[in-house]
Symmetry: C2
């Protein structure tokens, strides 16, 4: 296929906000046809998440209040990277902190732009197996329920459009494809 | 399971930015333990995307420059909702604008928070079949390549961690699960 490169050239950057979680800037760009446009861009250090499947094919999920969703939603355990942190190290830490289990074997499930039109966040996903108990250790100010579901139940929930978090849907679908 | 409600109560809102694509605000909240915290929140009207599969099991994908990714990435056709727009109507419009094809049959693949920790965007996905040619009609300032792939090739790309857009991974995995 003849793939055209439609790169946009940034000619100016206006910094709007520098927060604890996100930074926001507006870039003036030149489009491939030479016209000018503005791009609103969110910077974020990135995240990592892990779906664990135990020897009985059960998965530990977390249900937590998400103010952006204004409800408690069901997700795989995940967290924000420290700037420059290896996402696999982050996912391994988060799964212990949130569920108390350490994964002996970790398989990468890919890295994804959550919403590449305006946000730089890349989220790396992993499948963890060979679990051993270490003890839960939530961050201060972190409140969540840990819930156990059979992998096949979660897969059916994704197919029935009952999982509402994008990373969680990907992790369940790929874990099911890998483990059968 | 005993599910605890960990709702956060908003006590103050500071508006930071009101852009063409995103709005940003910081909310002062009270956590379930009574302590105070700040939440950075991105408002977005939401989006909709469609994966089409023709009678030969081929899929029309778009490859476009994403400044947030600083590269051309491969995605299903998708677009931003007008405020209050039905996401199915948006997905049906975008697939015609970007690929030139109209989907005669549309199956919902769910609605997802792209990144619920800080962003209100909900992205609704659809599977379109029974395609008829209408003619491509890109928005001004929209530059993209349309590329055709067998569904089974795209599925293998997801399993090999070569698809980097979250909505696209979900749409391919669910289309493959539905169509076999």
């Amino acid at each position: 296929m003849d793939i055209k490169n439609f790169e946009e050239k940034t000619v100016a950057v206006e910094k709007i906000f520098d927060g604890k979680v996100v930074k926001l800037r507006v870039e003036d760009v030149v489009l491939p046809d030479g016209k000018a446009a503005k791009r609103e861009l969110i910077a974020h250090p990135g995240g990592a998440g892990m779906i664990t499947v135990d020897e009985d094919r059960n998965v530990l999920m977390v249900r937590q209040y998400r103010i952006a969703a204004k409800e408690m939603i069901l997700e795989i355990p995940a967290g924000k990277l420290e700037y420059g942190e290896d996402p696999k190290v982050c996912a391994e830490r988060e799964i212990i902190e949130e569920t108390g289990y350490k994964a002996g074997k970790v398989i990468p499930l890919g890295s994804y732009y959550a919403t590449p039109g305006y946000c730089e966040e890349v989220l790396s996903l992993y499948l963890g197996t060979d679990l051993t108990w270490q003890g839960q250790n939530l961050d201060e100010g972190e409140f969540l329920n840990v819930e156990k579901y059979p992998l096949d139940t979660l897969y059916q929930m994704v197919m029935d459009n009952k999982i509402t978090d994008a990373k969680t849907a990907i992790a369940i679908l790929k874990a099911k494809a890998i483990l059968g």
